[in-house]
Subunit: 302 residues, 2 copies
């Protein structure tokens, strides 16, 4: 199976799981449903679910077992984008080439749609009907809430927000590096780690877990560095967002190190991801896909 | 044991559980921690945890077993108040006599503190170390995420937001009544139901669950009607908030039915709560406290 087909299949599973979930409850207020659906269905490659599926299928199991868990990680990703785009945060008008949620539904409804996607993600997760032990489901949920919470993604966002309009002159470069690593680890890498870790935990695999975590951390970090680079150099239309990082004078790998050094760091972390990947065991076909996937995620053109 | 002591004990357990949880992770960004703690520790009687504890202890078990679950319901309550006070929502400057979270930490940080309290609530919940079966923990978490999510509390908030500045003239009264019931059921009653239901589920009690749900729904509804009444007539200083319902021309029992009829409805639902309570079985001492608690919650002076 080639990677594109795997990604397409994953996307279909995730989107039909969401549609089924959101259509199920007739009591859901239509405008809230519309706002949640607008952002969830706004496109995106669904890379986190695909990673979760691959890490699950290393064990030989079938990804459909954990459709609910994969959809829930994407719901959390989706909520984080809605809140991140708000005027009080990044203040973005466009996301994937479309008006952001608050531009369409208003700020209040956008906040609530984010809150609902986050809460419902846990609700949906709990409905997974694979044969994972309850113990493993609980362990996977602990990882999910840890990586998404105050010392995970939200923590990364908070520090990111604080260091808008940062001024390099008044801080030591060393301190800035520490802050930047905190932001990228938590804001981006944590949820990519959660995706891979949860796939592995739900498969009942214990042997791989440490290496899966390390591998996922590396692709998460590299992904964010690449994003920083693209934010500066990519064709804005092609990326479908408005390059708000430089507008907000955010702390990024490019603003701290300059473009060339940022590219060098991306390259280094890219190699570390592959080094970690080599230690992961499982079905050969799925390992190959995971390798291709890593290349796909990290080698975006610049 | 008298009720006041029970409430004080519950409050102590919940607050020390929160402090332990939030202090545990050294990696938590200080300003985010401060913002979360500011709102969580802003006072409040912790009625939801006390209700959860009482419903748990009906079975003869000890409330300390489920401290984490009780704390998590209060964290969700706390997050909902932070987001509800935001300029894009109710736009309140004061909460319990203190400046609201966004007034102190800024809107961006307030949104994130809410997101973090919500996510961490699930994380903390999963750490309960009572001897409840994993199956019951999962069932309790399903209830928590359902009652807090898109067809629960967030749904109620969304409809509440939509019917600000409502105009009775352009809608039928029947439709307005339906909307008002939706708001009050979901915005307020759902989390009170969750509190009682989770206490009961974690105790392993099956027999009581239907009656506990009904009882909790009634106190939840009555609580909100009383709140609507107090928002209009109570001494604003005493309540410690600024009476934003009438400022925002919200749909409430008072704005829809007038003060006297709202009081009559409160009285009717109050009686229904007691009727439901009579069918609940368990330790006599705890049933008496639950009865006193119901009187305490619903008979605020007006």
């Amino acid at each position: 199976m080639d990677l594109q087909k795997y990604i397409d299949d994953s996307k279909k599973i995730v989107e039909s799981t969401f549609t089924k979930y959101i259509d199920k409850n007739k009591d859901l207020y239509p405008k809230l449903k519309e706002s949640m659906t607008y952002s969830f269905m706004a496109g995106g490659k669904r890379l986190r679910p695909a990673l979760m599926f691959l890490c699950y299928e290393l064990s030989g199991k079938d990804k459909k077992d954990i459709a609910a868990a994969a959809c829930s990680i994407e719901m959390i990703h989706s909520y984080s984008l809605i809140h991140d785009d708000l005027p009080a945060m990044d203040d973005d008008d466009l996301r994937r080439g479309k008006p952001t949620n608050h531009k369409v539904f208003g700020e209040g409804m956008a906040i609530l749609a984010g809150d609902a996607l986050l809460t419902d993600a846990f609700n949906l997760f709990l409905s997974i009907n694979n044969k994972a032990k309850n113990e493993n489901k609980i362990k996977a949920l602990q990882i999910l809430s840890l990586r998404a919470g105050s010392v995970g993604m939200v923590g990364g966002q908070a520090v990111d927000l604080e260091y808008e309009n940062f001024n390099l002159k008044i801080k030591s470069k060393k301190k800035m590096e520490k802050i930047l690593n905190y932001i990228h680890q938590h804001k981006t890498a944590d949820m990519i780690m959660a995706s891979c870790e949860i796939g592995s935990i739900l498969s009942g695999d214990i042997e791989n877990q440490k290496n899966i975590s390390l591998f996922a951390q590396k692709i998460g970090l590299c992904f964010q560095i690449v994003d920083d680079i693209l934010d500066v150099i990519a064709d804005k239309k092609k990326l479908g967002k408005s390059g708000s990082d430089s507008k907000n004078k955010k702390l990024t790998f490019v603003s701290l190190y300059g473009l060339q050094k940022a590219k060098d760091i991306a390259d280094k972390v890219y190699k570390e991801a592959f080094f970690a990947l080599k230690k992961i065991k499982g079905k050969r076909e799925k390992l190959d896909l995971l390798k291709e996937m890593t290349e796909f995620i990290l080698r975006r053109d610049f």
